[in-house]
Amino acid sequence: MHTTLRMIARLTLLLSLLLLITLPAQAEERVQLRITNPFENKTPVAIPAFKVSGASAEETELAKQAVSLLQETLAFTGYFRMVNPEAFLEDPSKTGITEQDIHFNRWRSSGAELLVTGSLTVSGQAIIGDFYLYDIFRQKSLFGVRFRGAGAPETNLRPLILKLADKIMVTYSGKHGYFGSRIAFVSTGKTGTKEIWASAFDGHNPVQISRNKAISLTPSWSPDGSKITYTSYVKNKPDIYLQGSWPGARRDLVTSKGTTNITPTWLPDGKNMAASLTIDGDQAIYLLTEKGKIRKRLTRKWSKWGIDLSPVFSPSGDRMAFVSKRSGTPQIYVKHLKSGRIERLTFDGRYNTSPAWSPTGDQIAYAGFKEGHFDIHVIDARGGRPMQLTRNTGDNETPSWSPDGSLIVFSSNRRGSSSIYVMNAYGTDQRKLVSLPGEQTAPVWSPNLTQ
């Protein structure tokens, strides 16, 4: 009798201790997200069917696609959620799309805060779209525009709608979106050999860029988005190349000087490059021209067998983050290029690599190995405690920021083979971005290209 009671007491104590240990951590995590994550409370937007000038099936279909694309694009940003059309009490495609035709109280009942209406006129040579954005609470129009896209409607619809999405972003947040940007990545795809591919920012239309028929790795964009640099085994060893960022573009050798030439990147000036080369015995970072002429050694020879690699630059070009084994295991460091001062950035965990500098804030995303797998972390570039963005979902590596610093693209093998994923900068809304056969890795986000 006594022993049973004691057992029960012990069990209860053990359980209480376990609960005490786990509860506070979870609570802390949730509170952190609520306070700092702007993606938690999404603005509800209503996008009812667009009006069409003609009655053809083709026009109606195009109008449907236009609405779908706008909904997907706005939802992609993480700032908006789409109001279910079943909640709509009005149909502007029939009752009118301009301000005098809108009954704001009906739209307020649907739960929407913003309303987009539109009308499309399609001809063989052009699409003309008239679009309006309304603030439902303030009961007024925020803008009315006419966009025209010359050429075949099928090819022109997408740029037209992305232009509209960008205008909505500027109106809403004061900043342009990134709808003209692209994602480059490595894919084994059809050939089975790793080649460089690129897709639109939303994963649309992925195409193979390199045709090397040799293992190609670690792509990086030029600041104007016209070129990609990468490492490839074209000559049966890892050498650095650059290539125009479209299929069939000419490939040029940057350097094959060292036994191992890897992790190339451009400096923000768009002229100079940095890469990790073995030209002096150790694996060190050098400043070089696009033609491969060495300008300066950026990391000193701290050991004959040293490893320094993966340079990335701050948006102003004043600092360089990189990976170094100088303290025994791979960690991330920041070098102040003028003074030469080097500071260690990561102290948490024994394997931190793949730094990516945010284009806007002074933040660095990286892949840190903890508890048996890699996760994406974000840390202030001046140092501090890292914030872990992925957890308990396989290996998550090679993060890269959207041009406005709001989203992070990365590779994940959470569902088996490695795929490209995207999430917002606070770690929520994680979802797969590109659908391709084979394995996809090493995504990098281009600058926003002029649309």
Partner: protein, 188 residues
């Protein structure tokens, strides 16, 4: 070498015997030419047979020897090409356990002075692609430096890193990872 000596002796014996036989035959033609000639012929035949047999035996022995030597050379080549040098996780240091293997490689390279090799550096797939490219390079470079210190000419050796791109075993367990962390030798 044995064949030539035995052969020469056999030839000499035959010649001498023939010489004696011829001279003897001429001298003893009155006494009993046919008997002696037959005897001489028998002796000649026997000696020739012995010589031929000795020849054959020597040839077979030599063939056996050459075959054994070729097998030994093929074995040594196979060992050289198929023995990989192992490394610890995230390390390019030469382990004590691998020194004997490296010494054997140096031995073979010295016995085959014309041969040029590529030393490939490989990693298991647990790190990141970029870092493993660098680590693979360090592994190959250190093996090359070690062989240089054992007297092998640097010009004979080229290094290349494949990072984690060419695993021997794609499984995700300790045994596979250990197999993949290696320096591999390829004859150019």
């Amino acid at each position: 070498m044995g064949k030539t000596w035995t052969g020469k002796l056999a030839l000499l014996t035959v010649l001498l015997t023939m010489l004696v036989a011829v001279s003897c035959a001429k001298k003893d033609v009155e006494i009993d030419p046919t008997a002696d000639a037959a005897a001489q012929q028998a002796v000649t035949d026997t000696t020739a047979e012995d010589a031929a047999a000795a020849d054959e035996a020597a040839r077979i022995a030599e063939e056996e020897l050459m075959k054994k030597e070729a097998e030994a050379r093929a074995e040594a080549l196979s060992v050289f090409e198929n023995t990989n040098i192992a490394f610890n996780y995230d390390s390019s240091a030469i382990q004590d356990s691998e020194i004997a293997n490296l010494e054997a490689k140096a031995e073979w390279l010295k016995e085959n002075p014309g041969v040029r090799i590529t030393i490939e550096g490989h990693c298991d797939d647990r790190g990141t692609t970029d870092y493993n490219l660098a680590l693979g390079d360090r592994r190959a470079a250190r093996v090359k430096a070690f062989l240089e210190s054992l007297g092998i000419d640097a010009d004979r050796m080229v290094t290349v890193s494949y990072g984690e791109e060419r695993p021997l075993d794609p499984a995700a367990n300790e045994a596979a990872w250990a197999k993949n962390r290696r320096a591999q030798f390829v004859i150019r």
